[in-house]
Symmetry: C2
Subunit: 383 residues, 2 copies
């Protein structure tokens, strides 16, 4: 396989973008990425999106976006893995370049969620329709069960969950593209509306519109466009049962564990080699579980680790979600996986401004779908 | 890029499969393909589906199908390009094997359309929602405009359109998996209900449930599993404007033209080297236009060619849609592109029974989305 680099990135602000259509949003991000990369063409493109059909009545998003971006007749493909659609978009673009089929490929993601759609019901189509959703449960409830089990099994506390939200809002306050740029206190989280016990409103990532795109390029060509291409060291994907009740454990996400194992083997790295990570904090408990399952902390120690500041931008051993994460940056589901890659790209190029991680050399992005039935992990490296 | 072969195939019967869920349908096809290939595992899988969300309320179909197929934790990715979702699924699997990332990959496609959903509206999400569908047009109307323009420009006749349906039903009558196994006469087509002038009911492919899957394998490993691997000679995809009114011509599908040009270059073949083809006859006019745009006939001569039998299984210079095509075999949209590959696979292995094309050595599959905004072409070869 050829070595592949990221050479450009662009995204919209995440938030309630009522004046922009799904096409406007994607095209804005894609043009920014192409301009940032400095390429005069792309050979192919991918669009990660969870449900253009249910959110805005538009499928066939590969072709739609190629048209509105003005790049016909190049191949344009939409991929979907629920909230991991962005990560999968990046991975398919990686294959296309690594295989030698194309040299320069755009990987984008987009979602338009605030146009009046019934968001909780639509997101629930990422769970098992027959055995979970039909019985009345949606994602806040599924993650609440994970939280309760983790609190029971490992003495994780409500305050530790809140610490995730507080940290990620602090990081997000430094991110000009974040949906929420306000710091919040633990008290605010603990007193926010109860959604699904023990999860409260400020444990949940928001409903967002947004688009994000990056340009991938064969490494041997990348140097024509940039002095600082970012190398893709690992691209791994794994699956788990779609329904939470079929898992061997409520507190371990096997798709994350299996993907991480393979990512470390593929990159010849170990958890302690990772300088910082973007992880899928759709709910605060998710960041805690994932930070354990990626091997950053012992199983059961994710909660205490965040509380002790081990994942903070300012002084953490491994800063997590320096972008603000899904919690504060926003979570337009199809765009999230690409936005994670963009945070890695900017950090590894030393262009993250007040969010900059010192000596950022290797970063990891972990993106997942549903309650963890799909997981995509990428490791990127500054060269 | 590594050479890649098809080493196994399986599909469900296409039709109104009321007793089977979308999961049942996909799993049946996938197990048949895996058993047919004789492999003891797959490294990864793709699911082509246009809109699990709108048809049956289930997205995240990669993870869902990996779970129900019992193959966790392998990567499982859903891809979508409207009615070309199956072709795109095959192409992404091809990249994954060609890149060296995986050795054995399943490419499947599925759609469950008869569960009471509003099919015409859902299919219309493959057109431009804003500038086409909102104005009231759906696909029968779009293809009717193409037909009218073709009849005006090239003197194509209503009888020539009917000849496509008659031929494809004759072929489909020989296909045990076809939805409609009855021969029909030109009179029956010409007197069927008017849908969108000049297209009548029997000019339209039906609404179908169905699943199809094939197993791709690196060529150097394929010989372990079969004496007759089928080589993938070309894999090409192209895009065009999503809306019909933005095209330079109503009677030429540029995505087909551009994809075909590249496919001939990639395979070092010319149209006359293709022994038979499966093309995307969602409406009878589509087969006529595509057979021209693939270079099988002069522009404007597609209608007279089918009428003169040049595309017939029995005596045609280039038999088209020996499977029965979308028209008679059925069109579960996400499965269609894979089912085309299966027809190629069976013909090239000489196992197509009463549908067998004599001396079938090279076959082409042409799959498209919407009114031709996306097109995927594959050329397969017996070795």
């Amino acid at each position: 396989m050829r070595e592949v680099a990221v050479i450009g990135a662009g995204m919209t602000k995440f938030g309630e973008l009522w004046s922009k259509s799904i096409k406007d949003i994607f095209v804005e991000a894609a043009i920014k990425a192409i301009e940032n990369a400095g390429v005069d063409h792309i050979d192919s493109m991918y669009v990660g999106s969870m449900s253009g059909g249910l959110f805005v009545g538009q499928e066939h998003l590969g072709a739609v976006m190629a048209d509105y971006l003005g790049v016909n007749p190049i191949p344009a493909t939409r991929v979907e893995s629920a909230c991991a659609s962005g990560g999968v978009s990046f991975r398919q673009a990686y294959f296309e370049v690594a295989s030698g089929q194309s040299d320069i490929v755009l990987a984008g993601g987009v979602e338009k969620m605030t146009d009046g759609a019934d968001v909780t019901d639509i997101l629930a189509t990422a769970a098992d329709q027959e055995y979970e959703v039909y019985q009345g449960i949606t994602f806040p409830g599924l993650y609440a069960m994970i939280a309760n089990a983790h609190m029971h099994q490992y003495k994780t506390t409500r305050e530790q969950l809140a610490a995730v939200a507080v940290k990620n809002h602090r990081n997000g306050s430094k991110n000009p593209n974040a949906q929420f740029r306000s710091e919040i206190s633990a008290d605010t989280v603990l007193n926010s509306t109860l959604v699904a016990d023990p999860l409260r409103l400020l444990d949940c990532s928001p409903v967002s519109d947004g688009g994000a795109a990056v340009v991938l390029c064969a490494m041997d060509i990348a140097k024509k466009f940039t002095d600082s291409p970012i190398r893709i060291k690992a691209s791994v994907q794994a699956s788990d049962t779609i329904a939470l009740h079929s898992r061997r454990s409520l507190t371990t996400l096997d798709a994350v564990v299996r993907a991480a194992e393979k990512a470390y083997i593929q990159s010849n790295l170990k958890p302690s080699d990772i300088d910082f990570a973007e992880v899928h904090d759709c709910f605060t408990i998710a960041e805690i579980v994932v930070s354990e399952d990626l091997g950053f902390f012992e199983k059961g120690c994710g909660g205490v680790s965040v509380q002790e500041g081990l994942t903070s931008l300012e002084s953490g051993r491994i800063p997590i979600n320096t972008s603000g994460g899904l919690k504060s940056k926003g979570h337009p589901v199809g765009a999230t996986g690409i936005a994670q890659i963009i945070e890695l790209y900017e950090q590894l190029q030393g262009r993250a401004g007040s969010r900059q991680v010192k000596n950022a050399h290797i970063g990891m992005a972990q993106n997942m779908g549903g309650s963890g039935a799909s997981c995509v992990i990428h490791i990127l490296e500054a060269i």
